[in-house]
């Protein structure tokens, strides 16, 4: 199967709602990075994790290498959070990062 599976593929949230995105890995990964891709195509780094949990404002991400998953939680969703979110994970052998297929998030008023 795919080394990085991302869910859900699409998500619609009302402003103010909370939700989560998840990436499952078929093998043990060394690190994970979460991105938001804006309308111009640029991938904006949200988090880089080698382990544990990080928070930044309304966003929180967790990476559990042993259990082979990572999550991204969005709290109090705002209209500007709309976009496509990707996780990308680096394998233990130090190869290039492999991407999930993205979650298209739409925040509606």
């Amino acid at each position: 199967g795919m080394p990085v599976e991302q869910n859900p593929p699409a998500l619609s949230l009302y402003e103010g709602a909370d939700s989560g995105l998840r990436c499952n890995f078929s093998t043990t990964m060394k690190s994970v990075q979460w991105f938001q891709q804006n309308h111009r195509g640029r991938l904006i780094t949200l988090f880089y994790l080698a382990q544990g949990t990080k928070e930044n404002g309304r966003l929180k991400s967790t990476f559990n290498s042993k259990e082979r998953y990572s999550t991204l939680h969005i709290k109090d969703a705002q209209l500007e959070d709309s976009g496509t979110y990707f996780c990308a994970a680096e394998g233990n052998s130090g190869t290039y990062q492999r991407f999930g297929t993205g979650t298209k998030l739409q925040v509606v008023p």
């Binding site: 111009r40 640029r42 297929t101």
Partner: protein, 114 residues
């Protein structure tokens, strides 16, 4: 955020034509990655460099692409003979180290092959 600069933003090529894209990595980042993102949001790793040396590349890149990262010049990725299936967003990223570090991406070059 990222200071990786990619040019051009868009290019339109006929089948069989060459298509060249350039990338200026962030200052002080010796590692450069190229990815292809297709219309289904699938990312394909193409090649990476550390300074001027190729570290890894996939078979397609070796056969059909020409890529380099000369010192004191932008990195470049060139498709030697464009095919319809090459239409995609080509993303360049740089990093301070080869492994265990954040990737910083440019805005990409969108190639349309007609």
């Amino acid at each position: 955020n990222s200071k990786v600069i990619q040019t051009p933003r868009y290019l339109v090529k006929g089948q069989g034509q060459k298509a060249k894209m350039r990338c200026i990595p962030e200052k002080g980042h010796p590692v450069v990655f190229w990815y292809q993102q297709n219309k289904n949001n699938e990312f394909k790793f193409l090649i990476n460099f550390q300074n001027q040396e190729v570290l890894q590349q996939i078979d397609m890149t070796e056969k059909r692409f020409s890529a380099e990262c000369p010192s004191n010049s932008p990195c470049s990725l060139e498709i030697q003979s464009s095919e319809a299936g090459d239409s995609a967003l080509y993303l360049c990223a740089s990093s301070p180290t080869y492994s265990g570090n954040t990737l910083y991406f440019g805005e990409g070059s969108r190639l349309i092959v007609v």
